[in-house]
Symmetry: C2
Subunit: 527 residues, 2 copies
C-alpha cells in the first residue's frame, strides 16, 4: 500500500520494548525444494491473465540440455516457495572465453514469467518485479542468487555466452524459509474436500508470509502491516501457534509510535526498526484489537500490562476524531484503509471499527482493573453506537450509510455487524438484505471478503458463509492459486489497484483467513 | 580473440610446473581511488566515437543531491582504474517502501556510458560490456559491486525507487588492484614531454593489465595470451621488474600443452588452470622467444633448464609446417595471428617469425650446451633464410611477398626485418621503401605498429621510429587515451574487428610497448 505520509514525523522510541522484540526473533525453519518439471507458457484466453502452463519435460531432463545466447527455459517448482535459489552452471563446448550473462525471472503466477517486465506501467515501484541479471565470470560455478524470492515459476534466459560455448544447469534448489513450525498443525479432516483444500491453501499462505515478522506478502511489500498482522495472528492461533511472533510484532509497533503516541500502519525491520510515516485510522486501532486477541489466546498478563498504554492511546487518538454528534469525522484523504476501492467512503466503516475496538479495549481495561478507563470507554461506546443508529441508519433502505453522500457500501454494513451495533437478529437481517440488494460499492480484496464471511458466521448464517468461502477463495483455487492472492475480483480477474496485475502479490497474508474461519466457526464438525 | 578450435583437445598436465606457477602467485597492491567530478556526455562529431565529456560539478557535490526513478549521473574517476567499486546509498524522503533498482555502467571511454548496450551488434559476446543491475532491499546500505571493472567513467541509473523516496550516494570508491609495484619505476625524464607522456601512459597500461597473470585487457578478455605476454614482459623488464610474474606465466603455459606438446595461444586461470583450445602458429613460437627474453634479463638457468623442452618442442612443431622448399606452408584457416586484418596473408610473416624464434632457440641451446639441437636449428635457420630470399623476395618491387597471390603487406616486411633475414643496411632500405610505397595491406593494431617501430629502431631509423610513436600512440593520447587501446587506426577511428567499437578494449597489454622501445633504444638520452 502507499498513502499520504509525513517524512518529518518524530519517533518516540522505547528501547525496553525493542529489546523485548529483539529477544523474540524467531527460529527460521529451512527446507530444500527442487523443481519438478520444465514448462512453457502459451496464451489461452480462458485462463486467468491469459497464460497457460504446459509441461515440456521432467526436471531431470534439464541437466542433459545446453543453452546458448537467446535461449531460455522455465522451471516449475510445483508449489509456491519463499527462499533462496542456487544452482550449478557448467560450460558445454570450448573453455568459456567470455562471462555468462543470464537473467532470472520469478513468478508466483505464469503471467510473471510470460509477459516482459518492461511492459509494466503500474504506479507502485517496478523494483518489486522479481528478476536478477548476473554476469558469471568463472565457469563451472555454483550460482547463489542474492535475494529472497517468492515464486513457483523460475525463468532462466541466456542473454549471452559466446560463440564457443553453451551452458548447462543442474542441482537447481530453493532453500525455502519460514518461521512457521508446520509440525504444529493438525489436519482439518472435514468431510467436504474443498473446505480441506481451502484450509490447506490458507495455511500455506500463512506459512510463506511468516518470516522474521508476519509479512503482508513475501513478494511485495515484505513487511509488517497492522491490518495483516491482525488476521495472520488469528489464523496462526488455530494452526502454527507461534504466539511469540505475534508478541514480538506487537512490541515492535509499540517501540516506535509518533510523538502523539500513534502506532504506524506498518514497520520496516531492516537495517533497524523503522516506522513507516503512514498512519491509518483503522490500522492503528487494530493494535488494540490484536492485543485483545493475543490476550484471549495466551492470557499473557505481563504483555497486556506493558502494552496497555499503547493500546489505550490508539483509542484516545481515534476518539479525538469523533464529533460532538458521536460520529467519526469524514475526511477527503485516505486516513482509513477499509478496502482497495477508489469510491468507497470510509466514514461508516471507520465508525464501526472504532466501536469494535472500544468494546475490546473495555474488556482489557476490565481485565486490568482500570475502572476509570473502563467507565469512560463504556460511555463512549454507548454514545457512538447510538449515534450510528441515529445518524447513519437509513430505515427505508435498511442499510447504514456513510459520508456526506450517504453512500451505501458493503464495507459499512459488514463492519457494523462485526461491531455488533445491532443485535444478532437485526444484524442477520442486515446481511441478508445486503446479499439480496448487492449495493454498487462492493468489495475488492480478500481482506474485505474475510470480514463479510466472519460477519455471516457471527450471525449464524453459516451456510451463506461457507458458500462465500467456496465461491471466493474456491474461485482462486479454480483459477490456479497455490497460495491465496492479495486481490481477487471474480467479476474482473485482471483487477489491480496498482494499474497492472504483474505487481499484484499472489501470496498475501490478509487472504489466509479461511483456516481461521473454518477452524473457529466449524469446530463442532472437526474430527 | 576467437579462432578455430578443437573442443576435444587432450591436455597433458604437468603437476610440477603447476606447483611452481602456483607458488609464484603475485602480491596484489591495492589503492583507493575516488571520483573527481560529475560529468555528462554530449554528442560532438569532432571527437572520437562522437562523444564529448563535459564536467557538471565536483564529486563532492554528489552527496548533496538525490535521485529518483529515471534519473542518472556519470562519475569521472579522472584516470583509468581496474578494481572493485563500493559506495554508500541512503534514502531521502519517507522510509523506503520498495527496493532500489539501479544499474551501473562502466566505460573506459565516454562512448560506453553514452550509447545503450542494447545497440551492440558485434560478433563477440555482449557479456563483456560492463554493467550491473542490482536490487537493494535494505537502505541505507553499502553497495559492493560483485565484479572487477576496468573503467574511467561510471554511470549510475536509477531504474526505480518508489513515489515515496529518492536515493543519495556518497563514499564512492574504487579499490584499484594490480600486481605491479609502481615504486619500482624510475621516471624517463626525456627532454621531449610527449615522449615522457607516451612512457607514462604505457606504464599505466601495463600496470592495469598486471593482475594475477599478465592479462591482455582488464575489460576483455581478462586472460593470459602468449602474444601479449611477450610484449608485456619486455615492458615489465624496464619498468616494474616483476620478473617472477613472467616466470609464473611461462610455467603456466608449460603446464598444459596438448598431446602434441604444443602450448595453447591463451590460458584461463579460474576455476583452475585451463588451456584454451585455440592454437596459433606464431603465438606458440612466442613461448620460446619469451623464455629467451626472460633468460636474457634474469640469467635464471634453473627455469631455462626446466622449460627448454617445451620451448624446443614449439620449434619442432612449427618446423613440421615447413615444406621441402624451406617455406612455411600456407593455409586457408587462421593458424597464425600476426594482426587483426581480414585480408592479410599469414605465410610471409609466419616464415619470418619462425626464423626469429629459431635464432633465439639456437642461443638458448648454446647456453644449455645442447650442441646437437644447436646444430640442427642452425641448419634450419640457414635453409629457411635462404628460402625466404629465394622464394618470397620480389626484386622488382623491393618487397617480400606472401602466399599464392604474392601479397605485399606491411606485416611481412616488418617481420622479415625483425627476423634479420637481410643485413642491417638492406633491412633499413626495405623499411624506407615500405614507408614510401605504403602497400595496401596495412596495419590495424598497436601490436603490429609495435613491430614496425621496433624494426625502425633496430635498423637505426630512430627518427622515423620516434615519429611513428608520436603519430600513432601520440594520436591515441590526443584522442583521449588514459591507457593505450587494443585497436587504433588513425584513418578509421571507429575501427573494430568485432563489428562494434563498444566492445573494444581501451587498456590493452599489447599496446604498452612505447616504454620498452623508449627505454631500450633511447637509453643514451636518458637523464
Amino acid at each position: 500500500m502507499s498513502f499520504q505520509s509525513d517524512p518529518n514525523q518524530k519517533v518516540i522510541r522505547n528501547p525496553l520494548f525493542e529489546e523485548k522484540a529483539d529477544a523474540l526473533k524467531p527460529k527460521i525453519y529451512q527446507e530444500t525444494i527442487t523443481p519438478n518439471r520444465v514448462v512453457k507458457t502459451i496464451t489461452n484466453e480462458d485462463i486467468i491473465h491469459g497464460w497457460e502452463v504446459v509441461p515440456t519435460e521432467d526436471y531431470q531432463q534439464l541437466a542433459t540440455q545446453s543453452f546458448g545466447k537467446g535461449e531460455s527455459f522455465i522451471l516449475d517448482f510445483g508449489q509456491h516457495v519463499v527462499g533462496y535459489v542456487s544452482m550449478n552452471v557448467s560450460p558445454v563446448g570450448s573453455p568459456p572465453d567470455a562471462p555468462l550473462h543470464v537473467r532470472f525471472t520469478f513468478g508466483e503466477m505464469p503471467v510473471e514469467v510470460s509477459e516482459p517486465f518492461s511492459s509494466y506501467d503500474g504506479w507502485i515501484s517496478s523494483s518489486w518485479l522479481q528478476e536478477e541479471t548476473l554476469h558469471v565470470d568463472v565457469l563451472p560455478n555454483k550460482i547463489k542468487l542474492p535475494r529472497r524470492y517468492s515464486f513457483r515459476y523460475m525463468k532462466v534466459e541466456i542473454l549471452d555466452t559466446s560463440q564457443k560455448f553453451n551452458v548447462s544447469f543442474n542441482e537447481v534448489r530453493c532453500q525455502a524459509v519460514t518461521s512457521a513450525d508446520v509440525s504444529n498443525v493438525k489436519q482439518l479432516n472435514h468431510e467436504d474436500p474443498l473446505l480441506n483444500k481451502l484450509d490447506e491453501v490458507s495455511i500455506k499462505t500463512l506459512q510463506d508470509c511468516m518470516q522474521d515478522v508476519f509479512e503482508d506478502g513475501p513478494k511485495r511489500d515484505r513487511r509488517l502491516w497492522l491490518g495483516d498482522l491482525r488476521l495472520q495472528a488469528l489464523a496462526n492461533y488455530v494452526t502454527f501457534k507461534n504466539n511469540d511472533l505475534v508478541k514480538r510484532n506487537l512490541y515492535q509497533f509499540a517501540t516506535v509510535p509518533n510523538e502523539n503516541g500513534q502506532v504506524t500502519a506498518n514497520l520496516f525491520v531492516e537495517p533497524t526498526l523503522i516506522p513507516d510515516d503512514t498512519f491509518l485510522f483503522d490500522y492503528s486501532l487494530f493494535f488494540t484489537t490484536t492485543l485483545f486477541d493475543y490476550y484471549q489466546v495466551t492470557k499473557d498478563k505481563e504483555t497486556l500490562v506493558e502494552l496497555w498504554g499503547t493500546a489505550y492511546r490508539q483509542i484516545e487518538l481515534a476518539l479525538e476524531r469523533v464529533k460532538d454528534n458521536g460520529i467519526v469525522k469524514d475526511d477527503s484523504s485516505w486516513w482509513s484503509f477499509i478496502d482497495w476501492h477508489p469510491d468507497l467512503n470510509k466514514q461508516g466503516p471507520s465508525q464501526a471499527i472504532l466501536i469494535y475496538a472500544l468494546k475490546r479495549a473495555i474488556n482489557l481495561a476490565n481485565e486490568l482493573g482500570e475502572t476509570e478507563e473502563e467507565a469512560y470507554l463504556t460511555l463512549k461506546v454507548e454514545t457512538m453506537t447510538m449515534a450510528a443508529k441515529t445518524h447513519l441508519w437509513n430505515e427505508k433502505a435498511g442499510f447504514f450509510v456513510s459520508g456526506e453522500s450517504k453512500q451505501i457500501s458493503w464495507a459499512t454494513q459488514v463492519w457494523m455487524v462485526l461491531a455488533e451495533v445491532l443485535d444478532k437478529e437485526a444484524s442477520r437481517k442486515l446481511l441478508q438484505n445486503l446479499l439480496v440488494e448487492k449495493p454498487e460499492i462492493g468489495m475488492n480484496t480478500p481482506y474485505m471478503y474475510h470480514h463479510l464471511a466472519e460477519a455471516l458466521f457471527l450471525t449464524g448464517e453459516t451456510e451463506e458463509a461457507i458458500k462465500l468461502l467456496k465461491h471466493y477463495w474456491g474461485g482462486m483455487i479454480k483459477d490456479g492459486a497455490d497460495t491465496f492472492w492479495e486481490l481477487y475480483n471474480p467479476e474482473d480477474k485482471e483487477f489491480s489497484p496498482y494499474g497492472n496485475h504483474l505487481i499484484n502479490s499472489f501470496c498475501h497474508a490478509w487472504s489466509c483467513t479461511p483456516t481461521y474461519l473454518l477452524r473457529t466457526f466449524l469446530d463442532t464438525r472437526q474430527s
